[in-house]
């Protein structure tokens, strides 16, 4: 901006007010001669700065400036047309005009100064706000540096102010764009926090569900992807993709819902299973009291349709199945409860009508979950009724067969009981062990005759003694023969227990072994005394 550009503004304004170029040229000449022009042009230049600032920020003082400017131009226009001022001969009102112009100019300059200060202050506010806003935006570093480098307050010349304001204005466009990204950053920050929180909760609930017996293995895929999502966004230098984060959050919320549902169902199922087994036990004892052992045996199979826990679900689709099982278990529990109530007060029960009541209990699992869409109705009923009739005999058949085999062989491996489904073998043997004198050692079942029990007991004692003597021999100088003797006893016992029924010679052998053990024990007790003394 130069003095001539200020002059051209003045010319334009005067032309607008109907003055001819000749009049204006003469007027300017007079103004210069009177020493008014320079102050006028200075004011006009500073006025330009005000307008520049006002185009960037709102300045209240601009209204005063405009009014005073209008007054000044009006006065100048009047002076331009007044021959008493312009004509060199007349020049009667020169001083009057000069005073008026100077008065308005003083006011105008003052307003302009206030406007510029206010405008610059506002720019300064904008700058500090922008710096604050962009602090977290990774891409804003360059803009921040440039923003900081613009000297708003230190400059005084109008040209410099205008140049700085223009540069500031350019930067503000970039800042506005970056501020939009700031929103993205803020949202992404919230989303990342939410994802992290969800991962934490899901991991916790997932582990809890696993403890309950429901393993939702598909959750691991989601956790894996979500953890990678977190790592990727934390380490990334570019703008985060909200789309990905929103999607991840949505998916994890869905997974959390699933896990919570599965957990709830798992807890409920365990509760119901426990309640069912309690009720079953009560019903069984009531049935035995009524001497209906056959039906009591049948009760063991009530609830065998319920899923085996732990259960692994490889898709959320399967959770719905758990709910179906809950319905079955609930029905079963209610049915058993009714039966229990009825049985607890009954003194005599009609077997037929009891079977009618137990039958739906046995079928509850099949009718609501499994049987759907399987074989045709009649065939199903026929087979199912066959199954129920046979079930009453099933336990007794298993028991008879197992005991027969045991009597023949003396001992059996659990997996030799192939006629019993493997998942039931253990439970069956537990029942059997309650009723019959059988012994379960690891995976071997032994028919426990009196002599065999004796051998087992002796064997355990000898084993314990061997351990003791070995431990003692480390502490004290124990006669090595003692340990040898014990080992001999163990060896003889091992040979002896091969056969179940003891003949006369074996019985003698057992007696001998017992005597040997007694003599060892006597020498052991002598040792104990020595030990106590030396302590």
């Amino acid at each position: 901006m130069s003095v001539s550009s200020g002059e051209s503004i003045l010319r334009e304004e005067l032309v607008k007010r109907g003055h001819t170029p000749l009049e204006i040229a003469r007027f300017i000449k007079v103004l210069r001669r009177d020493g008014l022009l320079e102050d006028l042009l200075n004011a006009l230049m500073r006025l330009f700065v005000v307008y520049k600032l006002a185009s960037v920020v709102d300045i209240e003082e601009v209204e005063d400036v405009e009014e005073q400017y209008r007054m000044l131009i009006n006065l100048l226009s009047k002076m331009c047309g007044d021959s008493a001022y312009v004509r060199p001969i007349l020049r009667r009102r020169v001083n009057e005009y000069k005073r008026a112009v100077n008065e308005i100019l003083d006011d105008l300059n003052e307003s302009i100064e206030r406007s510029i200060t206010s405008g610059l202050n506002k720019l300064e506010d904008i700058r500090s706000k922008a710096l604050e806003e962009l602090a977290e935006v990774r891409e804003a570093k360059e803009v921040i540096r440039k923003l900081k480098s613009i000297p708003l307050r230190r400059t005084r010349s109008p040209e410099e102010i205008v140049r700085n304001v223009e540069a500031f204005e350019q930067l503000l466009i970039v800042v506005k764009e970056l501020e939009k990204k700031k929103e993205v950053y803020e949202r992404s920050k919230k989303l990342l926090a939410s994802i992290e929180r969800l991962i934490g909760i899901i991991e916790e609930k997932y582990k809890e569900a696993e403890l309950v017996g429901v393993k939702l293995s598909y959750v691991e895929d989601y956790l894996l992807a979500a953890r990678y999502c977190l790592a990727e966004h934390v380490n990334s230098k570019s703008v985060p993709s909200l789309h990905c984060l929103v999607n991840a959050e949505r998916m994890l919320s869905g997974v959390l819902e699933d896990v919570e549902r599965a957990l709830k169902y798992g807890h409920k199922l365990i509760e119901l299973k426990a309640a069912i087994s309690d009720l079953k036990a009560e019903c069984m004892s009531a049935l035995r009291r009524l001497e209906l052992d056959e039906i009591a045996d049948l009760m063991r199979f009530v609830g065998s349709e319920l899923p085996f826990l732990p259960i692994e679900l490889v898709s959320g689709v399967e959770i719905e199945k758990l709910r179906l099982f809950l319905d079955v278990a609930e029905d079963l529990k209610n049915g058993l409860d009714e039966l229990r109530l009825e049985l607890s007060f009954a003194r005599e029960v009609n077997k037929e009508s009891l079977m009618v009541k137990i039958y739906p209990l046995l079928k509850s699992g099949l009718s609501s979950v499994f049987i759907k869409g399987l074989a045709e109705e009649l065939r199903r009923l026929r087979l199912a009724s066959l199954g129920v009739e046979d079930l009453t005999r099933l336990y007794s058949v298993w028991r008879r067969t197992t005991l027969d085999m045991l009597r023949k062989k003396g001992r059996l491996k659990i997996n030799e009981l192939t006629f019993i489904p493997s998942s039931w073998r253990k439970r069956f043997l537990e029942y059997l062990a309650e009723e019959e004198s059988i012994m379960i050692e690891g995976d071997t079942i032994i028919l426990a005759s009196e002599s065999l029990k004796k051998i087992m007991l002796l064997k355990r004692r000898v084993e314990a003694l061997i351990n003791l003597v070995e431990a003692l021999s480390i502490l004290k100088s124990v006669k090595p023969s003692l340990l040898d003797d014990l080992k001999k006893v163990a060896e003889r016992l091992r040979l002896l227990e091969v056969s179940v029924k003891l003949g006369e010679d074996k019985r003698k052998e057992l007696e001998e072994i017992e005597k040997m053990l007694d003599s060892i024990l006597i020498s052991m007790s002598a040792y104990e005394d020595v030990l106590y003394e030396t302590r």
Partner: protein, 256 residues
């Protein structure tokens, strides 16, 4: 937390989708697989892939069970599995992913999803159709097994009847049965018979099967005959009862 440090113990990385499909493309330990899993999540394909992996899981279980009935679907299942892996490999190699900072391009994800969602769903539907077919055959096989064993002296053995019935029931949802539980049931059915001596070989069953299938035109009935042959081949000691079952079916066989 592993995510913050970005340190991944790749030996511990797992999950059904990762194990069944992605690890076949990038054998672990490799971060590529994890990255791809994440891309699937961003493009909203993960749910579809999960459903596909689940369908494959069911198919594999059914394949295992059908082996016990002498039926083999290994090739069909392997085809579906290969196709699924190929499809995922294709997704992973799509030029759209590459050469772009994928994080910034949500449009890329949408485009990828539009491009592959229908294809992945297509494979899943095919897997489900195969599943239906195997289930149908398995139900038929259990029915036929029961019918064949009706001729054995063990037909009234309670544990056997109970096992057959349970087999029928669990076929409605084989995924809830572990392999061991299934095998236990199956063993109960067949162990009693193994004790018997085989009087007839599966060859004589095959002769009758050939004779009957030539005449039989109905699809369902032919499948029934096939199942009987498969069962006999798998368990030759049931041949003599299978022959009786075939004789029972003989009058019903007709060419249309």
């Amino acid at each position: 937390m592993a995510a913050k440090s970005g340190n991944w113990d790749l030996a511990k990385v797992k999950g059904p989708i990762y194990d069944a499909l992605i690890s076949k493309i990038w054998p672990p330990p490799s971060i590529e697989g994890v990255r791809f899993l994440y891309s699937l999540m961003c493009s909203e394909l993960l749910d579809d892939v999960r459903q596909l992996a689940y369908a494959l899981h069911r198919l594999k279980k059914l394949e295992l069970f059908s082996n016990y009935f002498g039926l083999s679907y290994s090739n069909d299942v392997a085809d579906i599995e290969r196709e699924s892996i190929e499809m995922l490999r294709k997704v992973s190699r799509d030029p759209l992913w590459h050469g772009k900072a994928v994080l910034e391009h949500s449009l890329v994800y949408t485009e990828i999803a539009n491009r592959y969602k229908p294809k992945i769903q297509g494979i899943r539907q095919r897997a489900e159709r195969l599943e239906e077919k195997i289930m149908e055959r398995l139900s038929l096989a259990v029915e036929e097994l029961a019918a064949i064993l009706n001729y054995s002296p063990h037909a009234q053995n309670p544990s056997y009847i109970f096992a057959v019935n349970t087999l029928k029931r669990v076929l409605a949802d084989p995924t809830l049965l572990t392999k061991n539980q299934f095998v236990a049931l199956f063993d109960t059915v067949l162990n009693l018979l193994i004790l018997e001596e085989a009087e007839e070989g599966p060859e004589s069953v095959e002769e009758v099967y050939q004779e009957l299938t030539q005449k039989e035109k109905r699809e369902e009935r032919r499948a029934r005959l096939e199942v009987i042959l498969a069962l006999t081949k798998r368990y030759p000691h049931i041949a003599k009862y299978a022959l009786k079952r075939l004789d029972e079916l003989r009058p019903e066989v007709r060419s249309e």
